[in-house]
Amino acid sequence: MTTSPESSGLDQTVLTDEEREAVYLIGETLIPEGGSGPSADQAAVATQFIDRFFELRPDLHSGFRELLAEADLKRPREWCERLERQRPADFSTLTFVIAGAYLLSPKARGWLKYEGQVGEYQDGSPQPEYAEGGLLDPVIARGPIYRATTWTRDGTGGAAATG
């Protein structure tokens, strides 16, 4: 971990030092060093963003701690793979928390060049793809593709089918 949990002064009500160490080990397993982007530790998952995550999602806190309590920290890779295979819903919770905390980190978002769900204004202006000579021309040229029905009014405000 980039910061020693013993000296960090991190909030013990969010995670104990032991749990934080488990987050570090599991984070580095799921999102390790050596890839094109920062690892979980380099993105300060265990020391910073896990706390921010649980500020936002306290509803997932107890379930996540239960998973940490059962994790095999001597063989975290094998434990993660077994969890994915045997209990996919729990694996989904685990990875949602770790990846969620990771992606709150500006370092991780910077690596992805992800600035959030950035909107783009529009004003309803005509799009050239839909103008004559655009992409829709061959679709229009082929004509209707729906199956026609034949109806006769039955005089009651509804319709009676003849085909």
């Binding site: 709150l104 204004y121 992409l135 199956r147 026609a148």
Partner: protein, 544 residues
């Protein structure tokens, strides 16, 4: 117990309830609407914040069993291939829907005549066409007239959402294949339109639209209805519809403080969705109606349809900016929509091309869990970077045929916060749907390959996809084979009406909001016409 009176009491303030209330109050009727939830809190729409993806599925969760808000009731889906999704609050499903907007085709109303399965509707596309036009006006729908998948006619009032790079890429591929496509229709405004603002393409339509561009009835219908005198009561959970003989006399409800109330009305209109409506009518059983109200046919709660849903994503080397865009759909295709006996199944599916959102979503289950490329461990960075912005997705809505063994009943062991039984689903995806989906998934993969995708990821039959809850109080002309008539009037109780998607005869293979909105207008219009002719009959309970 407090008691008050109204001309009409509506149960549920969603799409059908909002449209119905707005229509009836405009005609001068005194309307009370009872909604078990509250107003959506758009302060929790976090599209503009870095925590959007982390928080999106907390307040805006789609599955009531996950959300567990006080307004929710449990839905036991243990025996269902698809889990039911809904929003119990003002606006109903429109608060969370993706707002893809499609009319059903003329042939969708004639499935028995054309394909020898299911039943024909007792009304036609031509009957609904003016109501489609009006619904599109009321909801500020965007799109383009002239789609050859439909008869010629008036189109939506707003221009289509931007095609964007992904839509352009796939449109060219479909042109190369000679397949139909068309600009996406969406209940998302592309310019300032009445109460709606132009969409800013955040791609967060299903987790709280932050700028009021997506049409939901809490924005489009309820403010006007309330201005005209509609009495919308939130936190009001209907416990039963009250009857005397074959006449509904009103409803009983409990408020959030646990106090019981009664509203007497000349007519009761159910708009509580394809699960909530049969649940309440089953809860309303009496000695005279031992199997639930309006159930002499035995079909109440049967024929549940939920639209099997598949997703196929393509991953491209080029950045196609697929993290954002109206969601919604940029383009759509109905090339394989109509039946072709050579395919080994009947009916079809519509595809909508949509963005795939931010990076956290790309690590989740569907369709990404089906990828041969591992997500985690040493693959994490490469896999995630290859998807973000590079991955458009087809969402496939498959027609779901009605079967009486697909049911909504009362749960014997789950209850809501007021002690009322929850709903229990029994639902299986049938063989026709499986063959249909397999075919469509293969064609969708083909389209991505022609477009140059280097990888396709297929998520067939997504379980958490039961947005569309239809068919559990089917309409028809024969009281022995249907629950309501073509206008939503219960055969057994002539001043009890069902205006929600419970009455659907078949599901079509498109997103249902357009047809449900049109049906609410059609039914409300008939209600007013018949009411004007026979207000005395309504009072005495005789059939109008």
């Amino acid at each position: 117990m407090s008691t008050d009176q109204a001309d009409v009491v509506i149960v549920g303030a969603g799409l059908a309830g909002g449209i119905t209330a707005a229509t009836l109050t405009a005609a001068g009727l005194h309307v009370v609407c009872l909604e078990q939830g509250g107003w959506p809190d758009y302060d929790k729409a976090r599209a503009d914040f870095p925590d959007y993806e982390v928080t999106a599925d907390r307040y805006w969760a789609r599955d009531p069993n996950t959300r567990r808000a006080e307004a929710d009731y449990p839905v036991d889906d243990t025996d269902s291939d698809i889990s039911a999704l809904m929003w119990n609050g003002v606006g109903g499903g429109t608060v969370l829907y993706s707002a893809k907007w499609h009319r059903m085709t003329p042939g969708d109303f004639r499935v028995r005549s054309h394909d020898g399965v299911a039943d024909d509707w007792p009304l036609s596309y031509e009957d609904l066409e003016p109501y489609y036009v009006e619904a599109e006006r009321q909801l500020g729908v965007s799109g383009l007239a002239g789609n050859p998948a439909y008869p010629a006619g008036e189109g939506p009032p707003n221009p289509p959402v931007p095609i964007r790079a992904a839509g352009r890429r796939m449109a060219k591929a479909l042109n190369e294949l000679g397949w139909h496509w068309w600009p996406g229709g969406n209940a998302i405004s592309t310019r300032d339109y009445r109460m709606l603002s132009p969409c800013r393409q955040h791609g967060t339509c299903m987790s709280g639209c932050p700028e009021g561009a997506k049409a939901s009835t809490d924005l489009t219908h309820w403010p006007a209805a309330i201005d005209r005198g509609a009495d919308l009561r939130t936190g009001a959970r209907v416990t039963r519809v009250l009857v005397r003989g074959d006449r509904a006399t009103g409803v009983e409800y409990v408020d959030r403080e646990g106090r019981l109330h009664k509203v007497e009305a000349r007519a009761v209109i159910m708009c509580a969705n394809g699960i909530g409506t049969p649940r309440i009518l089953l809860l309303s059983a009496t000695s005279e109606h031992p199997d639930g109200l309006a159930n002499s046919s035995g079909l109440l709660g049967k024929r549940l349809m939920m639209h099997p849903f598949g997703a196929v994503a393509g991953i491209f080397d080029e950045d196609l900016a697929t993290h954002s865009g109206s969601w919604g759909q940029q383009i759509q295709t109905m090339h394989f929509y109509e039946s072709d006996p050579a395919r080994g199944f009947v009916r079809g599916a519509k595809w909508g091309l949509q963005p795939t959102g931010g990076p956290l979503g790309l690590t989740r289950s569907y369709p990404w869990g089906q990828s041969p490329e591992p997500m985690w461990f040493e693959n994490f960075h490469d896999t995630l970077a290859s998807r973000l912005g590079h991955a458009p997705m087809w969402s496939l809505i498959a027609e779901d045929l009605p079967h009486e063994h697909n049911t909504v009943t009362l749960s014997s062991d789950l209850a809501d916060s007021d002690g009322l039984p929850g709903a229990r689903l029994a639902y299986t995806v049938d063989e026709n749907s499986k063959r249909l989906m397999d075919f469509h998934v293969a064609r969708a993969v083909e389209s991505f390959e022609v477009a140059g995708a280097r990888e396709t990821i297929v998520g067939p039959h997504v379980r958490a996809s039961g947005w569309h809850l239809m068919g559990t109080a089917v309409m028809g002309d024969d009281p022995a084979r249907s629950v309501t008539d073509r206008f939503g009037r219960a055969h057994d109780i002539p001043n009890l009406f069902i205006f929600d998607s419970s009455t659907w005869v078949t599901s079509g293979g498109v997103n249902p909001a357009a047809t449900q909105a049109a049906l609410a207008l059609w039914s409300s219009d008939a209600f007013l016409r018949q009411g004007q002719l026979s207000r005395r009959d309504l009072r005495t309970g005789a059939a109008a």
